[in-house]
């Protein structure tokens, strides 16, 4: 069975589009009333100016909600046939080790298994997504959903929380792409769904069942 099933690849692709679009339209929204001593270049912001950027932002958020929910249900729930490699445990030592290996191009990357850098990054992403999602709702509905903003001390603080979580995701996207370039077969797998012919599988029962069900297909 492919490392990345078709549905996961499509969901990942659409989610990536949503996230990149939300980040770059968010930059244009931030530019309308910046709270840090800089603004983002119009050329790299989706929509360019406030009106159009807001329309993009509030369209792509639907794509983000749908694809993120699908991804979590498909990939992270143990009952799903697409249940992925474990994100835990994560150890600081192992992250250091993997980081040194990655930087010296020695990181052994096994498809179908997450190294500790990946685990740390993916957990960080999921946490940041949750923060972005909740803070976004808080900013969108500061009256109807007041408790969201109260948690961080009000509307103005929430703007900064939303911005901070964006910065985490933007940094992740850069690191994620560098990691992919370091291990190009992951890109092929994400685009074309490489077949796993390995004999070492975690749960032989499920895999043999899946193999049987797929014998007719190939």
């Amino acid at each position: 069975m492919p490392i990345h099933s078709a549905i996961l690849r499509v969901v990942h692709g659409l989610n990536a589009i949503a996230v990149l679009g939300l980040i770059s339209s968010g930059w244009a929204i931030y530019n309308a009333a910046p709270f840090l001593p800089f603004t983002f270049p119009v050329s790299i912001s989706l929509g360019g100016y406030l009106t159009e950027a807001l329309r993009w932002h509030f369209m792509l958020v639907w794509l983000f909600i749908i694809t993120t929910t699908l991804f979590i249900v498909l990939r992270l729930s143990p009952l799903s046939p697409y249940y992925g490699p474990s994100l835990f445990p994560i150890s600081y030592k192992a992250i250091q080790r993997d980081l040194v290996q990655a930087l010296t191009f020695k990181l052994k990357h096994k498809l179908g298994q997450y190294n500790h850098i990946q685990r740390f990054l993916y957990v960080t992403v999921l946490l940041s997504f949750s923060v972005l999602f909740l803070s976004g709702f808080g900013l969108w509905k500061p009256v109807q959903l007041q408790p969201f903003n109260h948690i961080v001390g009000g509307y103005e603080s929430m703007r900064r929380v939303h911005f901070g979580a964006m910065a985490v995701i933007a940094s992740f996207s850069v690191i994620h792409l560098i990691m992919v370039l370091l291990v190009p077969k992951t890109l092929l797998s994400m685009l074309f769904g490489l077949q796993n012919n390995a004999t070492q599988v975690k749960s032989p029962d499920i895999d043999s069942l899946l193999l049987k069900s797929r014998e007719n297909e190939y």
């Binding site: 692709g13 092929l188 796993n196």
Partner: protein
């Protein structure tokens, strides 16, 4: 094609991958290249967002209120023209025109409004640009005015027209929110010229641009009414 010993690129996977890329690519391309396709799609989603917000909206939720010492210094001016061009209205000859689905269309003077029951609030105005500021406004609750003039309150829209050509509109439910007022005073004094003298809308359950200044007319309609910024793409409901 072998990637390594354990993993293979299959023809099925390759075709599927190319097809997905092509589908996503052409959709993105259409969005980037066709202005009308993009505008249509964004308009439709904005209307859908109006609906979602209407469903989420409840008049039971009051906007947070603040204490006197939390009021912002130097409340920002904002408008579609510089402050110096703000209209200068004579408070004595000023009248509030009433129109549409209301029983009593007799224009109201500033003195008429002052005679009505007044409400005061310290709330946060949140601009669509992202900034926010806390101010103190007092004036006539809009629900009280609408009931006094016998407005049709069932599934209607309230339109606000202004001396500078600006206009906006809101759903009747938000218009009836207890904190929605026709503000006459800011920080305990009559509104200054730049901030909407003699009367502005103060509606803490909507974004700043719905808080129309220099009001000259209020009318009630069965049909949605749009607005100055709304026509340029700001989301119509824009509830908070």
């Amino acid at each position: 094609m072998n990637i390594d010993k354990e993993f293979q690129l299959t023809r099925r996977g390759f075709v599927g991958g190319i097809a997905s890329l092509a589908a996503i690519g052409s959709f993105t391309g259409a969005l980037a290249l066709s202005n009308s396709f993009r505008k249509d799609l964004l308009d439709k989603v904005s209307k859908w967002n109006d609906m979602a917000q209407g469903a989420l909206y409840s008049n039971d939720k009051l906007a947070p209120t603040y204490s006197l010492d939390q009021i912002s210094n130097n409340f920002p001016y904002n408008g579609f023209y510089p402050q110096a061009y703000a209209p200068r209205l004579n408070p004595l000859s000023w009248r509030l025109e009433l129109g549409g689905l209301v029983q009593n269309k007799t224009p109201l003077s500033l003195a008429d409004l002052r005679k009505m029951q007044q409400e005061s609030q310290i709330t946060r105005l949140i601009c669509i640009e992202g900034w926010s500021a806390v101010g103190q406004w007092s004036g006539v609750p809009l629900h009280q005015l609408l009931r006094t003039i016998g407005a049709d309150l069932k599934d209607t829209f309230v339109r606000i027209d202004c001396a500078d050509g600006y206009y906006t509109s809101i759903d009747i439910e938000s218009a009836l929110h207890p904190q929605t007022i026709l503000a006459l005073d800011f920080l305990g004094k009559p509104l200054s010229r730049a901030f909407g003298a003699p009367v502005r809308l103060r509606i803490p359950v909507k974004l700043g641009f719905k808080n129309a200044k220099f009001i000259t007319g209020i009318s009630v309609h069965k049909q949605p009414q749009g607005g100055y910024w709304e026509e340029q793409g700001y989301n119509w409901f824009s509830g908070l």
